[in-house]
């Protein structure tokens, strides 16, 4: 609530500063007047503009991306297309757009997409100016909200993420994550690398992360889930490690409990004394995040070899979901879990919120693989994109019900008797405003490259909509 008020205050201040006290043009993102859905990723989202009040003639307005302040980093771009959707094939955005807005007040549709990431809050204005004299006619503030490398986050972004996740925890909405993960038996959502290659690992965890991130955004829509690039050092040159007491926690040599700045510190860490009912101690991690590589001295690196992902993406046979998913799981994902251990080495690993940053990096690897192999089919018919195509065919099939592309997944659908009972997730609303029960297929085209579905609203700083 506070954050929302703050956003409105910033919005109002902007108009005071711009000298435009009354808008003559209204602009809406996602076709709603609500401000809490005015967030963008790389995918084009529907937007519209119209003339307000009574005017004698149509208005030619130039729509552009403007910065809220000198420190703003976000930028958006625009496109007008015939029809209601944009696909990657016809995506050709421009920095400005000239619209003829009817005097009748009829809406004129266009698309808006992120071009450069914002820093922290709504720092971009979709501004409409008069084509003739450049005067501002209307505007709406937005944010290009992407998942970032945790090392590149500003102090304010880090603090927001820590605080909001702590709020989720203290509200009692966090426990279900590790309970569900532990209950989803190992050979249902893991072990994709072993025959018969259960297919859920990547798609299920993508939905799981999205659920978590959207719950955070319900608390404060400015937050996004960062990722821990565990195949690189935990620090950028000249900067401190992200595994410090003021951010993701410091592993101690003689104490398995991760150290966070406590309440006596000048900068207390909201993750201090993070407890879950499953454990009697706060977060434990056994291993350091950085280490020397195997087989020969070299630079300090993360738990996983820096070449691992490129080797997986380029390996023979890894143009197929089944093979690539297995390698990403075993060599990339399992390696990160097992080299940190502690809570992250157990079935209840989401009890440590670092799980979500680790898995965001795994999901990013999945997205890189999809990009490289053009594996975006969301219809559930292409085995290259998801190898258990169609719907559960009945007993005697290779995989559990709930694993096939068009099956609703547990724990968002509690009707599958094959899965544990008593755990029912409700996916928070997405950019389209509709809560849905995720299927594996619905997780594949998360950027909506096909233009026929809905973008998830989650995206990575290094994977754009169209190269």
């Amino acid at each position: 609530m506070f954050a929302r008020s703050l956003t409105n205050a910033v919005f109002f201040s902007f108009f005071l500063a711009s000298g435009s006290f009354a808008q003559s043009i209204e602009i809406q993102i996602n076709h709603t007047a609500a401000l809490d859905d005015d967030y963008l990723c790389w995918s084009p989202q529907p937007a519209r503009a119209r003339v307000l009040g009574s005017v004698s003639s149509d208005i030619r307005a130039v729509i552009s991306s403007e910065a809220v302040s000198a420190t703003s980093t976000g930028q958006v771009q625009f496109q007008v297309v015939a029809g209601n959707s944009v696909s990657v094939d016809d995506f050709a955005p421009e920095d400005t757009l000239t619209l003829m807005l009817p005097a009748s007040g009829e809406w004129v549709d266009f698309f808006v997409a992120g071009k450069r990431p914002s820093t922290l809050t709504k720092d971009v204005v979709v501004q409409a100016r008069s084509e003739s004299d450049g005067l501002p006619l209307g505007a709406v503030q937005t944010m290009v909200r992407v998942r970032k490398d945790a090392r590149t986050m500003t102090t304010a972004e880090r603090q927001l993420f820590l605080e909001v996740s702590r709020t989720l925890h203290d509200n009692g909405d966090f426990e279900k994550y590790y309970i569900a993960h532990e209950a989803a038996f190992s050979d249902d959502i893991h072990f994709m690398f072993r025959p018969p290659h259960p297919p859920l690992f990547l798609a299920w965890h993508r939905a799981f992360l999205l659920n978590f991130e959207r719950e955070l955004q319900e608390i404060n829509p400015d937050v996004s889930l960062p990722y821990w690039k565990f195949d690189e050092p935990s620090f950028l040159p000249g900067e401190a490690s992200i595994f410090s007491a003021d951010f993701l926690g410091e592993t101690q040599s003689s104490n398995p409990v991760v150290r966070f700045n406590d309440s006596l510190s000048t900068t207390p860490n909201p993750w201090h004394d993070w407890r879950v009912n499953r454990q009697t101690r706060p977060i434990e991690r056994k291993r350091v995040a950085d280490r020397a590589p195997f087989f020969g001295a070299g630079l300090v690196q993360g738990p996983i070899d820096q070449n691992m992902l490129s080797q997986i993406l380029g390996a023979s046979g890894n143009d197929e979901h089944k093979n690539a998913g297995g390698d990403i799981e075993l060599d990339y994902h399992n390696g990160a879990h097992s080299r940190i251990l502690g809570w992250l080495g157990r079935g209840y690993s989401p009890a440590d919120p670092l799980f979500f940053l680790l898995h965001a990096n795994v999901d990013r690897a999945f997205a890189h693989w999809q990009e490289r192999h053009d594996a975006w089919d969301a219809t559930g018919t292409d085995a290259k994109s998801y190898h258990a195509t169609g719907s559960y065919p009945g007993s005697g099939s290779n995989y559990l019900r709930g694993s096939y592309a068009l099956d609703e997944m547990w724990p968002w659908n509690n009707t599958h008797s094959d899965w544990p009972s008593g755990m029912f997730f409700v996916m928070p609303d997405g950019p389209d405003g509709a809560a849905t029960v995720p299927t594996p297929a619905s997780q594949i085209d998360y950027l909506n490259l096909s233009g026929v579905g809905v973008a998830s609203g989650a995206c990575y700083d290094d994977i754009v909509y169209k190269q």
Binding site: E182, F185, S186, D187, H190, F191, R194, P195, P196, P198, S254, N255, P256, V257, D262, L264, S265, D273, R275, Q279, T280, R281, P282, E284, K286, P293, F294, F295, G296, D305, N307, Q311, S316, E329, L330, D331, N334, G335, H337, S338, R339, L341, G342, G345, R346, G347, Y348, S395, G396, S397, N398, Y399, L400, R401, S417, D418, P420
Partner: protein
């Protein structure tokens, strides 16, 4: 020449899954003259070709004199089973119609790991022991305890493995350190136990208030409990405990943050309780030096003034 041989072998192995190709990959992995990535690539390829030979090969490497290869093998074996979950695979509860996956190999890998939990290479066992013990493997825990008793494994190393155990399993081992003769390890363990809700009553009743233990050990308990025990403020206000707490928070070398926690809580309790205020207003000279750091000194001075006015 080596690189050419490696490439040919790796290339051939893609189309020819045979014992000879597998053996070639094993030899590449063992060849210390080759680059690390080449050796790792050979093992990865071996896994793709034949998972059983892969596990057998890694098991053999655990005792290699090439410590890096042995450690890498231990990590790779743990990788295979780290997501086995917390459930016994034999009790996997699916409907009768649901497909069942062959998870027998998990047990095979676990057997290899169990057999190597006290591997002669510390770098190998430091990978295996925390994983197995963290999974609640009592056999592994007992093996480490036995190896420690016999002197094969040092106490400090063993302690790190005992920390990994689920609290109920690890508790007897950790308490033995908390009460043991090694002062340094005792303080380390007490600092860990203080964060454990299942051990806080034990620490309060058996360590903090037990005059048989050194002041440093008891001060560590105090600082840890002040920081982590949600009930701390309830029992610290009891005059005898409060007096002890104030005394211990002055012990040199005490965790400064823990000490500050104690002092803050004491200040808060005195402010809220007239009876305590009365009790301590008559002992200000004695209590005053406790509040040595600047922030608390100011708070204490203000408190002193208010108490003086009140009484």
């Amino acid at each position: 020449m080596h690189r050419l041989t490696t490439s040919i072998l790796l290339g051939a192995s893609l189309v020819l899954s045979s014992p000879a190709a597998a053996q070639g990959l094993v030899e590449i992995a063992q060849d210390t003259t080759l680059d690390g990535p080449e050796r790792i690539a050979a093992l990865t390829e071996l896994r793709r070709q034949d998972a059983d030979i892969y596990v057998e090969t890694l098991a053999g490497f655990l005792n290699s004199s090439d410590v890096e290869l042995a450690e890498y093998s231990a990590e790779s074996l743990v990788n295979l089973v780290v997501m086995m979950g917390s459930h016994d695979m034999s009790e996997h509860k699916h409907d009768e119609d649901a497909p069942r996956h062959d998870m027998a190999y998990v047990q095979d890998v676990l057997e290899v790991l169990r057999a190597n939990v006290t591997n002669t290479q510390p770098r190998v066992r430091s990978v295996i022991a925390p994983f197995l013990i963290g999974a609640g493997n009592e056999e592994a825990l007992a093996s480490i305890a036995e190896a420690t008793s016999s002197g094969e494994i040092g106490e400090e190393e063993a302690l790190n493995y005992f920390y990994s155990a689920p609290s109920d399993l690890g508790s007897p081992y950790l308490r033995s350190y908390a009460e043991g003769e090694n002062e340094e390890l005792a303080e380390q363990v007490i600092a860990v136990l203080a964060s454990d809700t299942g051990e806080q009553t034990y620490l309060r009743d058996q360590i903090l208030t037990n005059a048989e233990f050194t002041e440093n050990r008891r001060a560590t308990a105090l600082g840890g409990l002040a920081r982590y025990d949600a009930n701390f403020s309830n029992y610290v206000v009891q005059p005898e405990v409060l007096e002890l707490a104030l005394s211990l928070s002055r012990v040199p070398g005490t965790d400064l943050n823990g000490s500050s926690f104690v002092q803050n809580i004491v200040l808060q309790e005195i402010r809220q309780s007239p009876e305590l205020g009365d009790f301590y207003s008559r002992r200000l000279d004695e209590i005053g030096p406790v509040f040595s750091d600047t922030e608390n000194a100011v708070a204490f001075r203000n408190l002193t003034r208010s108490l003086e006015q009140k009484f």
